[in-house]
Symmetry: D2
């Protein structure tokens, strides 16, 4: 992570200042505020602001269900009920704003989550810094031979060295030429909005990203999943740690019902019933395709 001494000083200053508020306060989240948590080689996430807490979720649910929610004794039980029955609107009543520094190829995946507010650093207005993602050796994975979007074994030795060399040299050469095209202060160089096109997808950008808790959990479910690309998963994991301290009951329910849960098809449920009745079901007798059967077995084997 590359934060200038000025930036670090500003973060310290922001963290030191406290003011009274009448709003809901999450002590767990207050402890994280403004701190930049490193992700990848130059990236970070930091929480800039938040709205609401576990109690705010329940408060909103109780407006909806009125006297009807009296039966659920406590907040934790109510939150589990809401999560189990996909009642998403109470979770939308919490909001988070993050400052994220991330490589452009990660940003391109991330931005596909449309229900969010974004202010990204503009390379039309301003000049990007010389910072590129270069994977750690243990992240230099080969293409998976079985999964079109997956990774296989880690590259070793000379092959790994060659790849790292290419990534570094090409990125630096591209940046040298970017600067050269922009010209020095005295000159009138190429427009920034054009010069930027020479820069690779490994370059870092940054943005403010704001979303509600329901959409954030959906983001985490997809991006903290083991099938997500590692370079976005580490961001999701860093965010998840903050969320856990922000809304502990909601996060626990999320872990049980979403991250650790699984959706089974009508066909899979049918097989399950036969298996519980003592029948031995195989892929051939399951009615499922090979792919589905493999996934079904993985769910049952999961620990």
């Amino acid at each position: 992570m590359t934060l200038t001494p000025e930036q670090l000083a500003q973060i310290e200053e922001e963290r030191a200042a406290q003011r009274p508020t009448r709003r809901a306060v999450s002590e767990g989240m207050e402890a994280h505020l403004y701190t930049a948590y490193p992700v990848l080689d130059h990236g970070f996430i930091r929480v800039i602001d938040y709205m609401g807490d576990d109690a705010a979720i329940c408060q909103a649910a109780r407006v909806s269900y009125g006297r009807g929610t009296k039966s659920v004794q406590n907040d934790e039980g109510l939150i589990r009920y809401l999560m189990r029955h996909w009642h998403s609107t109470p979770f939308e009543m919490c909001e988070i704003k993050l400052h994220v520094k991330l490589p452009v190829f990660v940003a391109r995946q991330w931005i596909r989550h449309r229900t969010a507010n974004v202010n990204e650093y503009s390379a039309r207005y301003s000049i990007l810094d010389r910072e590129f993602y270069v994977p750690e050796p243990d992240a230099l994975a080969a293409q998976s031979s079985t999964n079109n979007q997956g990774r296989g074994a880690v590259l070793q030795g000379e092959e790994a060295a060659r790849v790292l060399d290419i990534l570094k040299r090409d990125a630096n050469r591209a940046y040298d030429h970017y600067e050269e095209m922009l010209g020095t202060d005295g000159q009138q160089g190429l427009a920034r909005e054009l010069a930027r096109m020479n820069l690779p997808a490994s370059i870092y950008t940054q943005w403010y990203w704001k979303t509600d808790l329901h959409n954030l959990l959906h983001f985490l479910r997809l991006r903290a999943d083991s099938h997500a690309q590692m370079e976005i998963r580490v961001y999701a994991e860093a965010i998840a740690k903050c969320v856990k301290d922000w809304v502990p009951a909601a996060y626990a329910a999320f872990e049980d019902y979403r991250m650790g849960g699984a959706t089974l098809s009508a066909g899979a449920l049918g097989c399950l019933r036969r298996m519980l009745d003592g029948e031995t079901v195989t892929q051939e007798t399951s009615g499922m395709s090979k792919g589905e059967w493999r996934e079904f077995e993985a769910i049952l084997a999961r620990r």
Copy 2:
């Protein structure tokens, strides 16, 4: 406004409690928090939570424009620039959560603003209260004879009395029957989700409504406008007062560029140039329809 003593006591309690936070705090908004401002005969709006302030808008804009925003000296100037050029994303970085009590026919207009989070009191789960909107005598307007969706003169004397009598009697009779159909505690009456269909659109509902500042200002532009139905306009006006204290610079820019501004067509701009050149332009020579010309004249005459 009908708040029970318990509710009023709870509001006072919420207002009294203050806790330290590291987040951005808007002093102007803190003063409004939780207070229920009466609207219509039984309704209210109250701010439950907020995120951000004027500085947060600028902070987000400066992430986007990076070093490029150094030229704008101060926050107020930057906010005016953003508003003038329809740069909406920095305004999306502020968020507000309101508790609103409102008649169902107002709620039906309001909900058409889709970019918001809502938890509404559910008449499937719970029993609605006996509270109906009955207009003040000076709001009992006749149908406009020129505008299909407008109001004309205020009804007077016997005609007004008759209308008020109908509204009150029908609402109360409908509610009596609602209660009767639901049955008393001992009995198994009609399902709530069915019995509610007997209630008129003047009955009050309530919800938590959360949206970002950009979408809130869009809501205010449409609903605080003189063409909006009075019964929703008074809600927009009550909210606007809170917004003015929350983000004073953003609200001032909004008043200048949106509420007090006007959009002119290419044709209207052409007429304007001719008029500035000393030509007398009439509807006949304007190229505009009668309706457009009338609106154009109104914009120029506005004070």
Copy 3:
């Protein structure tokens, strides 16, 4: 369903006219176009327009996955794969536009699905017709004694008769007064935007509603579910019949993975593994609450 002879003639005319197009055509959907399918006593749904078909879903998926999708041999297999892995964007590439006539209390539930385009009949501009939903005798359910939002046994005999009588009389009286307040043509009556507030939630409104297939299937999952209120479920079921003919492969996958499927929590999956290993698991030893356990048993018992 109350369509005037003029409306029926217009529908016949629309159905008779055919024109050549280069666009994707779904034969199954063409057969449904414009036909009004009755729902409840005065309502209907009819498909006004559509975009795309099963092949369009695959076409979009193949743009995303490029050469990577060659491995999936056929469209049906690809669509099942997309549905199973929650790849929602290809389903968003199909669009449908419906004309729906429905009671206001149903419309209020329906509109909570925000990702859709809506043009509703405006009671500010125009006068509503005298049409109210009055349940069939077998739909006159009592409040459930176990479920706050559910229905119990059907009301019988005098109790049923009394409820029907109330609903009809109150609705008609409210409408009589609505007309009276609006005044006759010669008079200047109460503004429409005010008079409408006297009308009950059982009155019919209508709208054009347009959404994409992904969001439509989400709507159907929630509203064609057995826990949905019957009065909206019948609309969802009528729409589902059209969708089945429009995109047969997508609809079949939806039935298997969504309507007939179930999501199990990490805790439930753990119990399942123990049961498959031969252990007898009870609610007490399951780690689940009573409510969760009841739902878990229901999933396993489902046929």
Copy 4:
């Protein structure tokens, strides 16, 4: 534009096939369907599907306003009225689906329009082609000295040649290394999801992009504007040509009220009134900042 003979043959085939439909047909749009219109050096836009036409906009508006719209005699007048009063929902009743090939840095701007459905070619699954945007000599603009996001004079002679040389060489070298890292068929090279990070923002991607007419017009207003970056503006202009033939009345209203129109602030309207009264207003006496005054003068001078 680089379409393979196979792709061109497929487009011809798609264009040749016509089938009868009962849906609304726009003859103007049918003529454009599937044809790939070249944009920049390797890009294109082509319309894949559409829903609705000018009449469909009016049909939806008439559902809303019921008998109230009878006063507007014809469709064109109604569409102008809707556009003038920002009644956006009837325009949402039309939908378009485009296939677009575009450089990544253009795609990154484009995707910020969130209300759209997208399926993009995935460089995790598949291998990108060796196609990069290299500007035409007359597009090689210098950075503007007055506008942080603008362009100044066109680079000339050696400077231009040097820039073009850098862009081409760096892009090709990056692609050579991309291929090298991916490995040949026999080998297990670097995972595609990693190798892609070496590619510059000038590389072409492609996507299916679907949106409704209201959001499309908003996109065109921002991206066909003279302040938009040229490389996205040419896409907006190519799309605009198709839209003009698809919904001629809506497009004409859009040109008059949006593209050719202007929004004036309350302050600017006040100045205008003083000017029409014969007063000479200068920036100093206007109450506007220098920037605002410059923009105000530009609006009045526009021809």
